[in-house]
Amino acid sequence: MSVNTNAIGGKRLNKRASLTDTNLLLIITIAVFFVMYIMAIVFLGKGFTKPQMFFNILNENASLLVLSCGMTLVMITGGIDISVGQVTSLVCMACAVNLEFNGGNVFTSMLIALGIGLAFGIVQGFLVAYLEFQPFIVTLAGMFFAKGMTTIICSDRVNVTEPGFDALSKTEVTVPFMGSYNKVGDFIPAFVEIGVIVAILVVVLLFVFLRWTKLGRSFYAVGGNNQSANMLGINVKLTKFLAHVLCGLCAGIGGYLFFLHARSGSPLHAQGAEMNAIASSIIGGTMLSGGVGNIVGTLFGVLSLATIKNIVTSLGLDDPWWTNITVAAMLCIFLLVQSVILARKNKNKK
């Protein structure tokens, strides 16, 4: 009986447990997103109040969302994967060539996408986890390998006309109860592309994975302190390996979503996507030092990034360089915030 009350007491205490790093950063991120979106509504008005505006952000960034989720996984274990952008590009090209020239269908192209992603994940994961090399160098090599392979497959833009694929890519899913009235007063329901459904599914799956599965928790343990994790009986190498494999898989899926949206393959696709993915993860509260991060945060990170890009363009700063500079500036600010948090924590410990 007394045990029971204690347990309940413990549970009540739960709510009073001080904020974990993950939650602290998550709150910052969500706040940043809402502030940004409200700013967009206040200053830019009109468009941003329509649900479709929000869903368009999703439509355009479904691929980035999946890539960022993969990146978050690797970053939680204390690694990084900068090959995802070029892998996306490679996936697009390989799928486009398969559909256009090699008589493939939607199914084969999906297999190819997943296969490429997995292959990169497995090789890079092996090099990082078992040969203990710096993830940055390994994935930098992976990035250039993917870049080269893309042009080796085909150096020009390939537009896809295969009917099955075309139908899939143009499928629009209506969002229930959402929409807006046009000037005439007709109700136009809001829609999302099929890619968004997939991306949301990935987000949900990975959220569950990180929160409730033992493997997911061991990602955090490894990132928190990999020596301790080893002592606690976690297979650190396997965990790191799997993180890279999952990230590779996400790159495959994200690549296919990009392909669905772009309906073409080109060496210029997804240029700099890895930077956006890293930036989204970091803005979403994933710590570079590992062990801290959250998929929900990443979701908001992607949304924040997309919103600020929209704001920048709407402000008339539509010269192509402004988006990059904005992304870099945001990345810089959030890195500094993390650095300060980390420094303060270390000081407190002393």
Binding site: I80, L127, Y130, L131, E132, F133, Q134, F136, I137, V138, L140, A141, G142, M143, F144, F145, K147, G148, M149, T150, T151, I152, S155, P267, G272, M275, I278, A279, L288, D319, P320, W321, W322, T323, N324, I325, V327, A328, A329, L331, C332, L335, L336, S339, V340, L342, A343
Partner: protein
């Protein structure tokens, strides 16, 4: 005493010599160079042909693959100098050098475009010096920005430099309002091509000058000792009176200066700039040069000569691949393979396997010898 020892162990000394050779840091780049030379000799001996021919400007200049390798490797060699120092002190690499070169080049063009082709040699020289100094200052400032993030905010170098990597080319475009600038004054091209009457490309002299400068710097200062000590054990260095933060910052600033020189050469080569393409992928090559030189990418001890040699080997590889009609963007795939091979060879785990294997073999040999005796 030593001579008699040598005499006794002639059998071993050959192996010892070989072992010494293999353990020398210059071995890897030299072996790679040799491999490339042999490959080209077999594939196409005319690869090595050098000729002295009049160019379009009427002067006699040297041309041929070897000349173009030495010429084109100049920027890479200069970058390798800075990258080696950054690697040594901070244990990471700067991936923003390509973007920073775009910025440096853009600054030079911004100054140069304001002058008409008609200005006198004196005025021209003044303008060039001004442009160069300004571009060094700008690039060093960006280097300091990276360095500050690394040294004071303790962000991993590669992630810290990701910021400039993302924004650099955009900043470069912004400096010149995204204009396509082209300088008509032929004198502007002297620094990336040939000086009138001199048959050797100018970048070769510039890179040689940089090497001499760094050699002198390493000789008359403690840069080597300090950056190595900081890279190996920052905490211990601090207790010995070194300021690790300042040293890290310093290496990034030096890299910034190297970047400025590269940017200057790059824009002089074509008298123009393409913001998205200039010095594309050069960060990869620079890191590869350091790795190929056998330097530990995790920081600490370094061998400058090996890094620079590594840069030339990479250019040799690039030129060879070009020769075999590999497109410029596909080259990165081949280089990636080289990097991965290097990674595998230099991974501590693999090295341990090798040394264990070697130990086992020597142990077995000793056993056999014992039994024989």
């Amino acid at each position: 005493m030593t001579t008699s020892e040598k005499k006794i162990s002639t059998g071993n000394s050959a192996k010892g010599f070989f072992g010494k050779l293999v353990s020398n840091q210059l071995f890897i780049p030299l072996a790679a160079l040799l491999l490339l030379v042999i490959f080209n000799l077999i594939a196409d001996p005319t690869f090595f042909k050098i000729s002295l021919e009049p160019s379009s400007t009427g002067y006699y200049i040297l041309s041929g693959n070897l000349i173009s390798i030495i010429d084109n490797a100049s920027e890479l060699a200069i970058l390798a100098i800075g990258m080696t120092l950054v690697t040594s002190a901070s244990g990471g690499q700067d991936i923003s050098v390509g973007s920073a070169i775009a910025i440096a080049g853009s600054v030079v063009l911004r100054i140069a475009k304001g002058y008409s082709a008609g200005i006198s040699n004196g005025q021209f020289a003044g303008m060039i010096i001004g442009a160069f100094v300004l571009c060094v200052i700008v690039a060093a400032l960006f280097g300091a920005f990276n360095g500050a993030l690394v040294a004071f905010f303790k962000i991993q170098p590669m992630v810290a430099t990701l910021i400039l990597f993302t924004a650099g080319r955009s900043i470069a475009a912004w400096i010149n309002n995204n204009e396509n600038i082209s300088i008509n004054d032929t004198r502007f091209g002297y620094f990336g091509n040939f000086l009138p009457g001199i048959p050797i490309p100018t970048p070769v002299f510039i890179s040689a000058a940089c090497m001499i400068i760094i050699a002198i710097v390493l000789k008359v200062t403690n840069l080597r000792l300090y950056s190595q000590a900081v890279g190996i054990n920052a905490s211990s260095s601090r207790l010995n009176g070194i300021n690790p933060k300042v040293i890290k910052l310093l290496t990034f600033i030096i890299l910034g200066a190297c970047v400025a020189v590269c940017g200057f050469i790059k824009v002089s080569r074509t008298s123009s700039i393409t913001y998205a393409v200039i010095a594309n992928n050069i960060e990869m090559d620079a890191i590869l040069a350091v790795a190929l030189g056998g330097n530990n990418l995790g920081g600490g001890k370094f061998n400058m000569t090996a890094s620079i040699l590594g840069a030339y080997v990479i250019q040799f590889l690039t030129t060879t691949l070009f020769k075999f009609k590999v497109s410029s963007s596909a080259i990165s795939a081949y280089k990636a393979v080289v990097v991965i091979l290097l990674i595998i060879m230099s991974a501590p785990v693999v090295r341990k396997w090798f040394s264990d294997l070697k130990n086992k073999r020597t142990a077995a040999k000793a056993q056999v010898r014992k039994e024989g005796a």
